[in-house]
């Protein structure tokens, strides 16, 4: 009796596994037969990272053209301009005698900044007075402002320090005591994790995670929308209409998406950063561990929302713009600490907000898994919650279509 009980439960398990495998098989087949879905779930997650990384390949600005208005026309002013020109980031391409002329060049977009050296520059330097150099920056992009301002201030500071020494010497303060007088408390800034202050190194890791979430979400939306159009739910249900089947459908489908995107994430998160020389100091194993709750929560989140997507194109039309919103909610650009409570809570809806933070912390900042325990737990909680919502949503859909087909059957009878 015991053995028969055992065999029957074994048979049951085998039946469940068979059903699940069958769902996986069907899902993979429908997926690869559909050109639109293949674009979204295969082509996009592999091509987008390469495309965006190529666009943002240049980490910083090189030789930004600026103009100089040198009213001093002295040896000192020429020296300062030479130093500015010699920096990697800016280039003095033209010299004008008035600000109005420089403004003209700026309006024509020939230059993105202007250095103005006043007429009494050299005189004041020789009489021991303080003088001021003005720098005008194009702020159409934050990058222009940052780069021009930085290059100029480095050169101005270097020259200023040199003159400071001369003046201290002239006042009879020399040697070590001049050093002490010049900077009694020296300070030293150390830039960590993105030493070159590169733009791609900062933005791309976030974009990579966002691409994974959005393609997975839109792809699942497209598949589900299509089955709703074709009413494939109906078919899935007719074979076995008991409670267990919902679970098998969900697990089968999610295994299909998860396994595919586990492979893609390896390419996107391990290979792409190395290919484009983006930061990659994280432990690969930790990143893969992070992907488990991230991909699962994304899959279940997408499956839940997709139930409400009536057509295959609706998802793209109505949710594409969310990519931008999620990028800002993730707190990579505008710091997380400064996002107001409401939007921060809203951000928790999307797995990518935690996913982006966690990935940046491991990949860029070299954190270990225990440093990102908050994100890891959040993603795990999301996985559980979205699994339950997916179950409800599917169950509701299956019941609905079962009722419909029952009605239909009665009518035809």
């Amino acid at each position: 009796m015991n053995t028969s009980h055992k065999t029957s439960s074994l048979n049951k398990i085998i039946a469940i596994l068979k059903d699940t495998l069958n769902v996986i098989k069907i899902e993979f087949r429908t997926l690869f037969k559909d050109r639109g879905v293949v674009t979204m779930l295969v082509l996009a997650p592999l091509a987008y990272p390469l495309l965006y990384c190529s666009l943002y390949k240049n980490e910083t600005l090189i030789d930004v053209p600026i103009a100089a208005v040198d009213c001093s026309r002295s040896q000192e002013s020429r020296e300062l301009l030479r130093h500015i020109d010699a920096t990697q980031n800016v280039q003095v391409i033209s010299k004008f005698s008035t600000l109005a002329e420089a403004k003209q060049a700026y309006n024509e977009k020939k230059v993105h900044g202007v250095v103005y050296i006043p007429a009494d520059f050299s005189k004041k330097l020789n009489t021991g007075d303080q003088t001021t150099v003005s720098v005008y920056c194009d702020i159409s992009s934050f990058m222009y402002y940052r780069i021009i301002n930085q290059a100029c201030s480095n050169c101005i500071l270097a020259m200023s320090n040199q003159i400071q020494m001369e003046r201290l010497n002239a006042n009879g303060i020399t040697g070590e005591s001049a050093k002490i007088a010049a900077s009694p408390i020296p300070y030293d800034a150390v830039i960590l994790y993105n030493e070159g202050a590169g733009f791609a190194s900062f933005l791309m890791p976030a974009i990579l995670i966002l691409i994974i979430q959005q393609t997975l979400f839109l792809g699942i939306g497209m598949i589900t929308g299509t089955s709703r159009e074709e009413n494939r739910f109906h078919v899935l249900v007719s074979s076995s209409i008991y409670k267990g089947s919902t679970l098998r459908v969900i697990i089968g489908k999610s295994i299909c998406y998860f396994s595919m995107f586990a492979a893609w994430s390896f390419f996107v998160l391990q290979f792409v950063p190395r290919l484009f020389n983006l930061p990659h100091i994280g432990i690969p194993f930790d990143i893969m561990m992070l992907m488990i709750p991230f991909l699962l929560s994304t899959v279940f989140f997408s499956m839940t929302v997709a139930v409400f997507i009536p057509n295959r194109e609706t998802g793209i039309v109505l949710f594409m713009f969310m990519s931008l919103i999620i990028l800002f909610l993730s707190g990579v650009s505008w710091p997380e600490s400064n996002i107001n409570g409401f939007w921060r809570a809203f951000g928790w809806i999307f797995p990518a907000t935690c996913g982006i933070q966690a990935y940046i912390k491991i990949n860029t900042l070299g954190a270990d898994l225990h440093h990102i325990s908050f994100e890891y737990i959040s993603l795990s909680v999301q996985t559980v919650i979205y699994f339950i919502t997916t179950y409800w949503a599917y169950r509701w859909q299956i019941m609905k279509s079962a009722r419909k087909s029952l009605n239909k059957a009665e009518i035809t009878k």
């Binding site: 240049n58 720098v135 702020i139 159409s140 101005i156 900062f202 594409m320 600490s337 912390k361």
Partner: protein, 392 residues
Amino acid sequence: MSTKLQTAFTNTLNRELRRMVSRPIYFIGTVVIMAFSYIFFLTFFSEGQPNKMPIGIVDLDNSSLSRQFSRNLESTQQARIVMKLSSHKEAREEMQRGNIYAFVEIKRHFSVDALSSKRPAITFYVNDGYLIAGSLLLKDITYMSAATSIGMERKVLRAKGIDERRIMGIIQPITQDTHLIGNPWASYGTYLLNVILPGILQLMVLLMSVFSIGVEYKERTSREWLKNADNTMFAALSGKLLPYTIIFTILGVIGNMLLYRYMRYPLNANIGWMFLATFVLVLSSQAIAVIFIGITPVLRDGVTFAGLFGTLGITFAGSTFPIEQMPSGVRLLSDLFPIHHYFNIYVDQALNGVPIHYSLSSYLIMLAFLILPFFVFNRLKNAAIRQNYPTK
């Protein structure tokens, strides 16, 4: 002839208006999404600049001088000390957890060394993995450290008996005075919203225009659509797209008003020029949408192209990273994006307030996009009649 065209046009327009109220996607894809985006971004960036970002301090000296330095840091606009840490390692881990964006390290005997002229150093670490937070904090902490050093220097020079009038000349022989052309407040929202909001607008124009045309092919109503327009593609397209032109232009103008009137972002030209730019952006995006659905009258492919093009547009506008610093081919590509020309108009007019003739070419290029749809008229018409494209 012209009255015939007129009836065809009015018939299509009426038909489209009926369609628009038949399904929620039309309302959500226009008004709801744009309203949500406006509310989201304006409340998100209401602070202007990220102020009082969390930093840490490793104060191993704990003297009145080092505490004074902490207080000075607290008084900067951007930094807020949220934790006192006991070691460099601990501080670095807090940074890796993302709890602080920077930390300052003050060594033991800092105060004694400073007073006995041993030049004790202050070291600070900023996390440029978060570039915006990192560079803003770097600026503030550098400034405060320099100020501390200068304060000390002044004391030293006074003690040496140097004339008060000459002291500033010795401390800082050359100062720098930075002017931000057109945006005196350096508000971060200004950089972003002036491109993101029109960016979302053009994305939705592209998607909704492609959708409204493509759905006729998908649902096999294209013959009816064309017949209703007296078999003229011009009437069929213009009648169909006009409602969206109007809705999106109104939504875009509301966006302009929010940016330049409500948020008071820099506007150094007549706001009318920005309204015009918004209108032309809507028109040119619709022209591109027609091209996309004309190339393959398959709704799915159309919206995929439009979505890709629309999101790329935000990169190609040139605000995040200047186009001229991108790889050389990209520069040519950027001309294909109407939003890039819109952005140029924004920079010239709203930001820099240069004479309008500098922007003329940008307006004209955007208008030139309107020629594109004519190339796919035949293709669209044939496909509408034959209905020989897959529906999914």
